[in-house]
Symmetry: C2
Subunit: 340 residues, 2 copies
């Protein structure tokens, strides 16, 4: 089994406490003693026991990431960055999936907290702000996305309204006049969809374009299949759209497949834009115009928030709202040419 402080102490002929001092680097230990202890440590391959440390000191070194679905490209990319960023701080990342289910999110918020992890990064999907309060015995929580929990929890997100407005403006500038929006989530208290819709509508209004409800398409989830279904519905309905702004790249890619399959030329007949800038979109044919959120910044800032709260206990600073940068990436799917 694994060696403990005691065994190392016996081997080095010193007390447990001294070994602990050597291991922690703390306190003053005579160089000679230190060397002897170090040798025993190496020989026995001693590693500190995380459980004991956790029990004693209260920190587990674990941070949980709770997202709807790790297999979804956007969350996959984000998770990768978070793992890397966590490692930089010698934390480890626990991944939990909520499947966009409210119960599941609630359970995670209640259950995992306070038991194993030092902090939670949660990307809520179905939970309303009111439910996102900090519970009793809770660990620090950072929210990703647009759900702001009434300003009670730290929160990192891009400015979805501004970003959606920008990308819609881009479509308008390219001469499109009948621009559809795909990705509404009317049945959920989901802030993300609501804000992207708001930015879209604002851009239309500013350009003096009418807002046509027939061009606002709701979806169940943000998968490709949903985008495909939405595009089918859009094409089956009467009035032709000449552009589509999808609230995620996945939706856009699904929509694009259907449009291409029906013989539409992208972007000539139909411009398509997404949101997230996942790798799929960069390599799709035609490549996908999108909003690129600064995912590195999101990952960094999220863990920054946790680190802050873990550092200073009593001050209990007010919840922070971090806005991550984004930028519009124009690719072939909205180009003025024929997209090759």
């Amino acid at each position: 089994m694994t060696a403990s402080l005691r065994q190392v102490a016996e081997r080095a002929g010193v007390s447990i406490r001294t070994v602990s001092n050597v291991v922690s680097g703390f306190a003053q230990v005579a160089p000679e003693t230190r060397a002897r202890v170090q040798q025993a440590i190496d020989e026995l391959q001693y590693r500190p026991n995380a459980a004991a440390r956790h029990l004693r000191g209260g920190r587990s070194g674990l941070v949980a990431l709770a997202i709807p679905e790790i297999a979804s490209p956007y969350f996959g990319e984000l998770a990768g960055l978070l793992v890397r960023e966590a490692e930089r701080r010698s934390w480890m990342l626990l991944v939990q999936q909520t499947d966009g289910d409210a119960d599941h999110e609630r359970r995670l918020l209640d259950g995992v907290r306070g038991q194993v992890i030092d902090g939670l990064v949660l990307s809520p999907w179905a939970l309303s702000p009111g439910e996102l309060r900090r519970g009793p015995g809770g660990v620090p929580v950072v929210l990703l996305g647009e759900q702001d929990a009434d300003g009670l929890l730290d929160h990192v997100a891009v400015d979805s309204v501004a970003a959606s407005r920008e990308i819609t403006q881009h479509l308008i500038a390219a001469g499109r006049t009948r621009i559809a929006a795909v990705g509404l989530q009317p049945h959920l208290e989901n802030g993300t969809a609501a804000r992207r819709l708001e930015g879209y509508r604002r851009a239309l209004a500013e350009a003096g374009l009418p807002a046509d409800p027939a061009l606002e398409i709701p979806v169940d989830r943000l998968h490709r299949a949903d985008g495909a279904a939405a595009m089918s519905r859009l094409l089956d309905a009467g009035p032709r759209a000449d552009a589509v702004f999808c609230f995620s790249d996945q939706l856009a890619l699904g929509a694009m497949q259907v449009a291409l399959a029906r013989g539409l030329r992208i972007p000539r007949d139909l411009a398509v834009a997404g949101f997230d800038d996942v790798e799929d979109g960069r390599y799709a044919t035609p490549s996908l115009t999108t909003i690129s959120p600064d995912k590195e910044a999101i990952a960094r800032e999220a863990l920054n928030c946790l680190a802050d709260r873990l550092g200073t206990r009593p001050p209990d600073r007010p919840a922070r709202r971090v806005v991550a940068a984004h930028h519009l990436v124009i690719r072939d799917s909205t180009g003025s040419g024929d997209g090759q």
Copy 2:
């Protein structure tokens, strides 16, 4: 803070031990007592302390997944299934990224083991079989992929040789004669690429087709960019291929983009096949023919192996080699038509 057994015990007017009995469901507790204790538990919102349990009993309930890159679609999908499967067994999944780096893999194998986690699911990329031994104080390890560690560790994978042979045979049956292979990794002791190459060559040989070294393209990683680069090289070189078998869907998608950009029609001018069956390929245009590994089975069996080893200590059964099912999925990218 969080309530402990002691506080619950005081409130319910019983001993700590009795509360423990109630919580564990063990032992026989008088219904009346049980009810009283349960009420105290509810009132105080008691949750067992994971660190203490871990320290006492040796189980943390944590399993680590170490993969090259979580953002890669194949590993993302696999991670999602593993998270779900772990949850089914009330384990939690810790995700670590190796970046395909040998040092990193080695460190994970040494460091994380025995400290926090009960088991490790490792998808080795750069580590040679010889290095994959079970170290001292190690926890159970399951390998994913083709690296078999000299039969010392449990191991779950599809039969890559057979699968590659099948998909190559499919290309041959479709009338292709100059079939390229993209994805060799000559500089790594990477079993996966070697086996896929073997299956490919075997199919060619069986069909009496010559093996042309100019059609075997090495890559650095398995990203889309590598597939794109490989396709460029292939097209720039003299002899035209009429089909490409890429060792991953990502490679295939990158390759496809380049081919389309250069005006090739897929599948008419060039058939493209991949490996992994990730969602991207299903929604690409044209949709991608591929080998679909039974990822659910891989996730299930991997955790089965760990569960087994955690269950029975002394027996120390020999390493198990689980072969997961796969099947060929024929889509438009190798169809005989023009892919719509």
